[in-house]
Amino acid sequence: MINSVPPAAIFIIGAFFIPFFKGKTKSAFMLLLPILGFMNLIHMTAGTHWVVSFLNYSIIFGRVDKLSMVFGYIFTLVSFIGILYAIHVKDDIQHVTAFLYAGSALGVTFAGDFISLYIFWELLAISSVFLIWSRRTQKALDAGYRYILVHVVGGLVLLAGILIHVSNTGTIEFDYIGLSGLGSWLILIGFALNAAIFPLHPWLTDAYPEATITGAVFMSALTTKSAVYILARTFPGTELLIWFGAFMTAFPIFYAVIANDIRRVLAYSLINQVGFMVCGIGIGTQMAINGAVSHAFCHIIYKALLFMSAGSVLYMTGKIRCTDLGGLYKTMPITAVFCIIGAASISAFPLFSGFVSKSMIITASATENLAIIWLVLQFASAGVFHHAGIKVPFFMFFGEDSGIRTKEPPLNMLLAMGIAAFLCIFIGVYPAPLYQILPYAVDYIPYTAPHVVGQLQLLMFGALAFILLILSGYYPAELRAINLDTDWFYRKGSRFLVYVFTGIANGIAMVCEHIFIKRLPEGLAAFCKKPMTIFVEAYRKIEGKKDRASGPEPELATTIPIGVSVVFAVGFLVILAFVFTMLFK
C-alpha cells in the first residue's frame, strides 16, 4: 500500500470546503489543492490501489500505470493554471464545480472498473454544466440544458453498453475492450460523444462559447481529454477510429474559418486537435499512442492558453466576436504575445509544444503506410495554422482597428497565461521530460532538418495563402451569423418532434375532450335529470310516429303503457344486483 489517497478525493472533498474560506485564505486554499494533488500523484506507485468491495464487486479507485499517470499530471497541472486564472472570480459555485469537475476527470483517469468509471463520467457532465450556467445569461442557460441533455443521453448509451458488456464478461473490471458485440459498440459511442467525434460533436461548439470566461478553460481541458484517455485505454488500434479521427481533423477547420465567435473558432479547432489524438489511438502502434498521449498533454496547455487569452479579451472588452474586435495589440500587448505563443503551439511551429507531439502521430501514420490519412493530417495541420494560428490572433489583436482601448487583464490572469506560455515553449524546446513520462519508450527525434524545413514550408506557405487572400479581399468576410452543424438535428429536429407529438397528442386530447368532457357529462347530466324521458323519447320514435302525424302530442303518462315502466324498473334492478354481486363477491 502507498501513502497516498485517490487523486480524485483531494479535489472532490476539497471542493466542499471552499465556501468556508474567505478572501486570501480562500485563494490560498484553492491554489493549494492542485499542489497537494500533485504531491500526492508523485508519491503514487504503479499498480492497483484503493480497492473497495461493493455488493459482490470490487471497485478500483486507483489503476496506476504510465498511461493514467500522464493524464493525472496534466489534469492536475491544468487545474492549477485554471484556478489561478479564475482566482479573482467571486462565485463559489464556479469554484466548487470546477474542482468537482477536475476531480471527476481524475476519477475517470484512475478508475479500474466500470462502476466508478460511470459515476465519475456522469459527475463530469453534471459538474461542468454549472460552468456554463454560471454565465447567467439566457443563451448560457439554454446551451447548458442542451449540453446536459446530450451528455445524459450519451451516459445512458454508455450505461447500456456497460451492462451488456459486464453481463457477457462477468466482471466489472476493464482494460482493453475492442470492438466485438453490441455492448462494446455502445460503450464506444458513449466514449465517442465525450471525445466529440463526428457526428456527436456539436455539444462542444454549442456550449463552450457560452461558458463562463474561466469555466471554458477547464472545459477545454477536461471532458474531451478524459475521453481520449479512456479511448486510448479501451480501444487502441480500432481501425474505425483512424478514419473518424482523420475526418475530425479536417471538417472543423472549414467551420472555424467562417465562425465569428472567437471561442467558437477555438472550439472547432479543439475538435480538430482531438481528431489527431483519436486518429493516433486508431493507428494504435506504440509510436501512435505515444503521439496521441503527448499531443493530449501539449494540447491541454496551449488550448487552455488560447481560451485564456480569448477569455481575457472577453473579460476586458465584453466582446468576443471577430466583427467587434481588432487592433487590441495596442493596449493588450502581453496578452497578444501569449495568444501568439498559444497559436504557434497549436500550429506545431518548431520550438513550440505542438511540434514535438503532433508529428509523432503523423509519422506513425506514415510508418503504417496510411497515405490518405497522412495527406489529410498534413492538410489539417496547414488548416489549423490558418484558422487557429492566424485567424484568432489576427482578428482579435491586429486586423482592422475596432477603436477599442482597454488594458491588460488582472495579474492572476496574466500569470496563469504566462505559466502556460512558458510550458508551451519549454516542451517545444526540451521535449525529453515529456517523452520520459509517455506510456512507451520513445524512439523518435522531432528535430531533423527535413522535418523542420518541411513543417515550416507547410505553415509559412499556408500563411502566404492567408495574406494573399486577405490582400485580394477574397478572404471570407467576418459576418454576424451562425453556421448550422449537426446540432440542427436536435435543436430544430426537437421542434419538429414537439410539433409531431403535440399534433398527435393534441388531436387525441381534443377528441377526448369532446367526448369525455363535453358530450358524455352532458348526456349523463341530461339522463340523470329525467332518466325516463330518454327511453320515452326513444320509445316514441319507434312507436309514436303515426300518433304524431295524426294529432297534437298526447300526454306522456297516457302514451306509455304501464308495463314498459315495469320492464325498465326490473331491468334496472337486475343490473344493480349484478353490479353488486360483482363488486362484493
Partner: protein
C-alpha cells in the same frame, strides 16, 4: 492619453513585415534544395512538396469554406425563431 503601441498603424511597417515574410519564404525554398530527404512516401522527397501542399491546402480550405458558408449560414437568432 495612455501609452499605446502603434507599429502597424504605419503602412511602412506593414510593408516591412510583409517583405521580411517573403524573404523567409524564399529562404525556405532555397534551404529545401540542400537538405537530404528520407520520407516514407515518395512525394515527401519531391522538391518544395510541403510548400506547394501547404499553399494549395489553405487556398482550397478557403474556397470550400466559402461554399460551405452558402449552405450553413443563418442569422444569429435562427434558433430563437
Amino acid at each position: 492619453m495612455k501609452r499605446e503601441l502603434k507599429i502597424f498603424d504605419k503602412p511602412r511597417n506593414v510593408q516591412r513585415f510583409l517583405y521580411s515574410f517573403y524573404i523567409v519564404l524564399l529562404a525556405l525554398l532555397v534551404v529545401d534544395l540542400f537538405i537530404p530527404k528520407h520520407g516514407h512516401f515518395p512525394w515527401e522527397g519531391a522538391p518544395q512538396f510541403f510548400a506547394v501542399y501547404g499553399f494549395i491546402s489553405c487556398v482550397s480550405l478557403i474556397f470550400v469554406a466559402k461554399l460551405l458558408r452558402r449552405i450553413v449560414r443563418r442569422d444569429e437568432d435562427y434558433y430563437d425563431k
